[in-house]
């Protein structure tokens, strides 16, 4: 059964990419709705299958790990596959209505969208270092294409910046892969994990290269300069995809590398250093988000800040007791999920607001609270999750990270967690204050369709509800991990 599901999961996005290239935007929309329904169903079924049967390796082409490419289907991977299905479907539905179907270039939206989805699934399931590289490139190029779609100068500028950063990051990663292959003669992460004994300098350099490249692609401070223009200029559904999912892909690889190899190749300096950069991202990104004059730039800089929390994974899992490390991993996983849902909701809601007031400026929002209370409410609800107030997913994530920090004696991260929440509150309330300003007789608002308003609301509610179901979600995450760890790598 799982075999069929995996085949469906890999086949659908690629096939839909090819098919939708042959159609126009409107026909592609119908086709894509069908595809999203299939992907959603397959992802859900796979999630339940892994929940019951545990994780497994899937040998593509029937060739096992070192010779062929094996996919690692475990609890974490299928959870992210499901997350991608949820956020991808929401953004796809929103885009179908939001994007101007009459523009001739929009026909390329769907193929790029589906290629992006295929790449994301490839990353979540990837267990082969080089295949991860190809998946990353698939993601980067389709994401750049999506940003550039429409071809106005500012978008091209942002897309080029993004492209160059992404390419440099990929090559740094590939250089690390080359060193690993030179040393071990294999590309399978599981086999490398088995063969690796101690911290050889060559391999430490390799890991550093890979982490640096992936950090650049994830836009970790101070390598974040490419992100705000790209995420700010793209159409809102694209921004939601980029902020919600795309930057998580490179972080996911970095985290997987760290969890598998970090105990032997890492060092306290590296772990603390990554944490410090993450902390700086939280503070600096939040501050810049507060200062931005444009609505989508606020949301984009907020992404820079929220990414920062993810990098606390490095110090909180290095040389700490097993339960503490597990706590931190769970916290980071929750943070990834809740940020993906909340940030997608925020960008989609921001898109609605911009559509309504016909301007990207925060000041132009004055009075919009009367006209789009629903979208504004979604925006705020997502904001609550970013702030980390109970009962949201953001709160549950921070609570776990807080515990992990205290249990490992690294109290300084607690300061970052709390300060980040306060700063997030500041930039979200700034938008709110601007929206509730009363202006005389400005009823020149466009009212977007109901469906556009409903989608961010659903995502924001999911982010909110995540806090309530955090326990079951995390138990599913932890359980299959054991199964996979116990299963030997096949020869």
């Amino acid at each position: 059964m799982s075999q069929w599901l995996i085949a469906g999961l890999l086949f659908t996005p690629l096939a839909w990419a090819a098919l939708s290239l042959l159609l126009g935007f409107r026909q592609g929309r119908w086709l894509s709705w069908l595809g999203m329904a299939i992907q959603m169903a397959v992802s859900l079924a796979l999630w339940f299958a892994v929940m019951e049967g545990g994780g497994f390796y899937y040998a593509l082409g029937g060739w096992n790990a070192p010779l062929g490419i094996a996919l690692r289907v475990d609890g974490l991977a299928v959870t992210f596959v499901l997350l991608t299905a949820a956020v991808g479907t929401a953004c796809g539905l929103h885009a179908g209505v939001y994007l101007d179907a009459d523009k001739p270039w929009q026909r390329y939206f769907w193929p790029l969208f589906w290629f992006l989805w295929a790449g994301l699934n490839g990353v979540w399931l990837g267990a082969d270092l080089f295949n991860l590289y190809v998946s990353l490139e698939l993601i980067s190029l389709s994401a750049v294409g999506l940003v550039a779609l429409g071809g106005e100068a500012a978008a091209l500028r942002a897309a080029l910046r993004y492209l160059f950063a992404a390419l440099l990051g990929s090559l740094a990663y590939l250089l690390g892969v080359a060193l690993f292959y030179g040393r071990f003669g294999t590309l399978s992460l599981a086999v490398i994990d088995q063969l690796l004994v101690g911290g050889e300098p060559a391999l430490i350099v390799a890991l550093l290269l890979m982490l640096a490249g992936l950090a650049l692609k994830t836009a970790l401070f101070p390598l974040h300069a490419w992100l705000p223009p790209a995420h700010g200029i793209a159409r809102s559904p694209v921004s939601a995809l980029l902020s919600g999912l795309v930057i998580k892909a490179s972080f996911y690889i970095a985290a997987r590398l760290w969890m598998e190899l970090g105990d032997r190749l890492g060092s306290p300096w590296l772990a603390q250093g990554m944490g410090v950069l993450g902390a700086a991202a939280v503070i600096w990104g939040s501050w810049l988000a507060f200062c931005q004059p444009h609505l989508k730039q606020v949301v984009a800089y907020s992404s820079v800040a929220q990414i920062g929390y993810l990098f606390l994974l490095f110090p909180l899992t290095f040389a700490v007791a097993e339960p503490v490390s597990l706590l931190a991993q769970q916290g980071i996983t929750l943070q990834v999920i809740s940020h993906a849902l909340a940030k997608a909701a925020m960008f989609l809601a921001a898109g609605n607001l911009i559509l309504s007031v016909r301007s990207n400026r925060v000041k132009a929002l004055a009075g919009v609270s009367h006209f789009l209370p629903f979208s504004l409410f979604s925006f705020g609800l997502a904001g609550v999750s970013l702030m980390g107030l109970p009962p949201t997913g953001g709160f549950a994530a921070k609570w776990l990270l807080l515990q992990a920090s205290l249990a490992s004696g690294q109290w300084w991260w607690v300061v970052v967690l709390l300060l980040g929440g306060v700063l997030a509150a500041a930039y979200v309330f700034r938008i709110y204050r601007a929206s509730f300003l009363e202006v005389s007789n400005s009823d020149d608002f466009y009212h977007p369709p109901q469906s556009l308003e409903a989608i961010p609301m659903i995502l924001a509610l999911l982010a909110l509800g995540l806090g309530l179901v955090a326990e079951p979600v995390l138990s599913v995450l932890a359980l299959p991990f054991e199964v996979v760890a116990a299963e030997a790598v096949h020869p």
Binding site: G68, L149, G185, E200, A202
Partner: protein, 219 residues
């Protein structure tokens, strides 16, 4: 530069400690079941075919970007239309030779160096030559046919991949008996599409200065 020194040290370190892997033994052992004799082709199109599938996806994205941002009129660049007689004579000889070369490379891939990528590149080069010689290339217009050409190889590959899964085996698994034939079919499709994509990128890329392109104005 510290970067180079560290990297050189890492390379030397990794080379010094390199452990003989079982991978090459496995490869030799499985080669007979891959359907081709040339190990590089076997790795590309059988053992690690998922890489190749995604890589063609990347190429399709680039081709798409090329035709989406180009303006249609640039294809009718009159400057390139005026056929140079020498070039014309040259291409009358060159085009068939290069087509033959592409076919040879494609066929050679099964047991010696060569294969879809090289053949596709030669195909594209032929197209570039034809364009420089001023031959009409209506088929490269950004219409449905061009898009069909772009995805054809990818689609063929994907269909073969899913056929394996429908057969009850893994995604991308080929039955041993017909693996060679399937790989050849994939390679033919890929050669055609790779040539088409690379050519589209060359031919469709120009944006002339004379007119405002119809795409990406206001917004």
């Amino acid at each position: 530069m510290g970067f180079v020194v560290a990297l050189a040290a890492a390379v030397l370190g990794a080379a010094g400690a390199a452990a003989p892997s079982e991978l090459s033994d496995q490869l030799q052992a499985s080669l007979a079941r891959s359907g081709v004799e040339h190990p590089v082709t076997a790795v590309l199109l059988n053992f690690r075919s998922y890489d190749t599938l995604l890589e063609i996806g990347v190429l399709v994205i680039a081709g798409m970007a090329g035709i989406s941002l180009a303006s249609t009129n640039a294809l009718e660049d009159p400057a390139l239309r005026s056929a140079d007689s020498l070039l014309y004579a040259l291409q009358r000889w060159f085009v068939p030779v290069m087509l033959l070369l592409a076919a040879y490379l494609l066929w050679a891939g099964a047991d010696r160096p060569g294969g879809a990528f090289q053949a596709g590149a030669v195909l594209a080069a032929t197209g570039v030559l034809m364009r420089l010689g001023g031959l009409p290339m209506a088929f490269i217009r950004p219409g449905i046919l061009l898009r069909l050409g772009l995805v054809l190889g990818f689609a063929v590959f994907l269909l073969v991949a899913v056929a394996g899964a429908l057969n009850g085996e893994a995604f991308l698994a080929y039955p041993v008996t017909i693996a060679g034939g399937l790989i050849l079919i994939i390679e033919i499709g890929l050669t055609f599409s790779i040539g088409m994509i690379l050519l589209a990128l060359f031919v469709a890329a120009p944006v002339t200065d004379e007119h405002e392109p119809e795409e990406g104005g206001g917004l």
